[in-house]
Symmetry: C2
Subunit: 243 residues, 2 copies
DNA sequence: TGAAACATATTGTATGACAAATAGCGATAA
DNA sequence: TTATCGCTATTTGTCATACAATATGTTTCA
């Protein structure tokens, strides 16, 4: 029906990026299963009508993200998904293409529920003045958003991402990165609810606890915030996200 | 003094991997700071005496891991560390080279404390029979290790890693990967303590809770386990890991 | 003053050749 | 028959060179 089902790789982008996208989606979708070997480079090249240079750079990207391994004569094989960098923005994007929304939103929520209270508590201890100003301004942007849904969502995402960065623990940062793209959809869903007054209060509680350097209070406030966010999404989508 | 200070890149490995390692360490160490642009490819090539092909494949890997961005004429720039894939095994390895041990162990512990109880609880709900068998056999290997430190450490690492995989939530898996390399050092430290009887009991508690599908019990047992593990490491190293 | 055309540096792509590694086969010997 | 060694062929890895595409800065012109 649709000749161009998904404009995932606009022609403007570099060739090796488009190819990596194409292969990445195919792998994530399961066209090539774990342990399987891809066709040899030469064959892949003529299949797509590109040079080996571009193809190898595309493969090199996928190898770096843990999707593939290669060795001479053995070929290029798909690794077990346990080795993939699932928090990588590209891989996440490919997953979103092929996984149903509810499933991946639910899984991300499970991770958030584990990490965000801890991140808030760490931020309360480790945040610099600059971090506090950033959180303050993210929060202010939420307040100022008014009825503008788009602005609200951006500010909301920025606020949560800033919490992760304020931990000054780089192992938390990849999770914070999810607030740039992977969680936008969830926030857009939640933004349609008429719960903004309550959301502002709850975000304010987290902000205050961090600014006043009270880790346990920050932890508690984040737990409350996420709990209610869950309820909102559940309510709006009509599914139970936590069986 | 020492001509080969660190055997990070044995000559056996592929050239582009050695180069990526070298550049990766240099970037992580701060030789090239965030926002800075690297020398042009041509120059990098003649600096190291290699072809542009190999150099570009090395750069492509670093770009895929979020360390670099490149565009024509603008050159190749170092990205803000917030965009790096800090859970990636390679990046972790490079960090270990240049960061003091206590700092990165402490930060990893902070992440574990947040995620591992949640992972155990999820595993109690989502684990398949195969997952349960795996955990069982990891645990048995710990018991069977006897006085063999190396076996104990391997089994211990495997047990914790298996918990993350048993969540069937792929966003937890990159954290579980840390138990393959990044946390070995910590486990080796803890293994020197004479607390094995207690450790076996505590690991057994987590295992039983997961097998009997009791999430809140698994959560609690994991909290206890990590709490004591922290004490052990603190005791042995003589530092306070949590200020 | 401003905008548009042009020169230039740098990354991106193509091509063709050769090197290195390794799985699989075959030959050889015990 | 069985095990070991070595050969061959396939596939990835590296090299050299040329040209294309893109963004920057400068120069020219209205």
């Amino acid at each position: 029906m649709d000749a161009t089902p998904r404009p995932l790789a606009p022609a403007s982008l570099k060739l090796h990026i488009r190819v990596a996208d194409q292969l990445g989606v195919a792998i994530v979708r399961g066209d090539y299963k774990a342990g399987e070997t891809l066709p040899p480079e030469s064959q892949l090249c003529e299949m797509l009508g590109i040079s080996r240079t571009a193809m190898r750079e595309a493969l090199r990207s996928l190898i770096a993200k843990g999707l593939l391994v290669s060795s001479p004569k053995r070929g290029t094989r798909v690794r077990d998904p346990r080795h993939w960098s699932h928090l990588d923005p590209d891989i996440l994007r490919w997953r979103v293409e092929v996984t149903d929304t509810d499933t991946y939103l639910k899984k991300m929520f499970e991770l958030r529920r584990a990490t965000e209270p801890a991140a808030a508590a760490l931020a309360a201890v480790a945040a610099t003045d600059e971090d506090r100003l950033q959180l303050q301004s993210d929060f202010q942007a939420m307040v100022d958003a008014g009825a503008d849904n788009a602005r609200w969502v951006e500010a909301d995402l920025a606020f949560h991402r800033s919490i992760y960065f304020a931990t000054h623990n780089e192992f938390f940062w990849p999770i914070g990165q999810l607030f740039s793209f992977g969680l936008r959809q969830m926030f857009e869903i939640a933004a349609r609810g008429d719960h903004r007054p309550r959301a502002i209060i709850e975000h304010g509680d987290v902000l205050r606890a961090i600014i006043e350097r009270k880790p346990s209070m920050a932890h508690a406030a984040a737990v409350t915030l996420i709990g209610n966010a869950t309820s909102d999404v559940v309510l709006i989508r009509g599914h139970d996200l936590e069986p």
